[in-house]
Symmetry: C2
Subunit: 209 residues, 2 copies
């Protein structure tokens, strides 16, 4: 994404839009190939052939396969996980969960395969952890910032790193371990029984214990 | 486990203990082989040879590979996830998390490999979902029953199915996605920032929202 922005920065609007479309197409090809053949068997040659670009074009912007895959994944996360401002914490969380669930459902296999590939590719592992996972937090951070500004959650609630992992972890558990649908009934349970209790909890409040 | 208990029920104590030890040894061999060659390549022949038992002995008690693997996994979950009664919800949750983390750390690869194998073996998938996952809830249910009896959590808190998935889901996310240690500092965060807020939340309490 950074490279993408840097490359686009110096060109005019129509050219930038064209470059943006070409990048989006390229990223689609990358994700399609990942789903079809897996990370280990995906090659830059195959990406270039299917996207009708030269390998040189790809290597000008990305150092290699791991960087290209991670750029495609981060781009999709930032693009898809951009829920509207509904005006309330509960509404924002539900929208965020629907967007997250759509990614998880569509790419359950892809995510499992990449987790597997990370075990044999330290470069992929490093990039996923430093770029893809943080990209997934952009939207949930925005939701928490808005909720804190409205006074719906204590200011420190947004600083708890664990919160950002809750929804993805529960969604993957639901889909992969239990094989059950991530329908609206389930997403509402996650919001009302887990996310809101975690966010509105005040540690200095006298405990029930 | 059920079969194990049924087989042992009619014999004397020393014989039952011997049968129990033999079963424990057999289950160890199953888990070792799973780690070494994976589910797809593991055979009943290999299990029998390494455990020094006949294939007939195995087939008398388990219908096939999926049943044997699931019995070994369920047995370990019930055996390991048996935390002491510390007298408080927080203490019990910490002990439970330490036991769960020990399994996840030891068998992170095994769990990922089995999740993969479930995609091509419907029988394994069915058994994992109906036997292994419920076996993992025995200990956390016991912790909640004790906490409700002490008045530390509302009675309905124990009925929320989602609770039981929280700790395993966050542990796998921590280990697999983030590649960070499930140390005591992390486990304490999970207890204090997630599990206790979720369990002590009262839905009829006026919301901050």
């Amino acid at each position: 994404m950074l490279e993408d922005q840097q490359v686009s920065a110096g060109v005019g609007v129509p050219a930038a839009r064209a470059a943006r479309c070409a990048t989006t197409d390229l990223f689609s090809v990358v994700l399609d190939l990942l789903r079809e053949v897996g990370y280990d068997r995906m090659t830059i040659d195959a990406v270039a052939a299917r996207a009708h670009v030269s390998k040189a074009t790809i290597y000008r912007r990305w150092d290699g396969k791991a960087e290209l895959v991670v750029a495609a994944l981060s781009d999709r996360q930032v693009g898809v996980l951009n829920p509207p401002d509904t005006g309330s914490l509960r509404g924002d969380l539900l929208e965020l969960l629907r967007a997250t669930a759509a990614i998880c459902v569509a790419d359950c296999d892809l995510m499992q395969a990449l987790t597997f590939a990370m075990r044999t590719s330290p470069e992929l592992e490093r990039l996923v952890r430093h770029q893809v996972l943080p990209a997934g937090r952009v939207a949930s951070t925005a939701v928490l910032v808005r909720a804190a500004a409205r006074g719906e959650i204590p200011p420190e609630a947004g600083e708890r790193d664990l919160f950002h992992d809750l929804a993805p972890a529960l969604l993957m558990s639901r889909l992969v371990a239990h094989g059950l649908p991530a329908d609206d009934a389930f997403l509402t349970q996650v919001v009302d029984q887990v996310l809101i209790p975690v966010l509105t909890y005040r540690q200095d409040r006298p405990s029930q214990a």
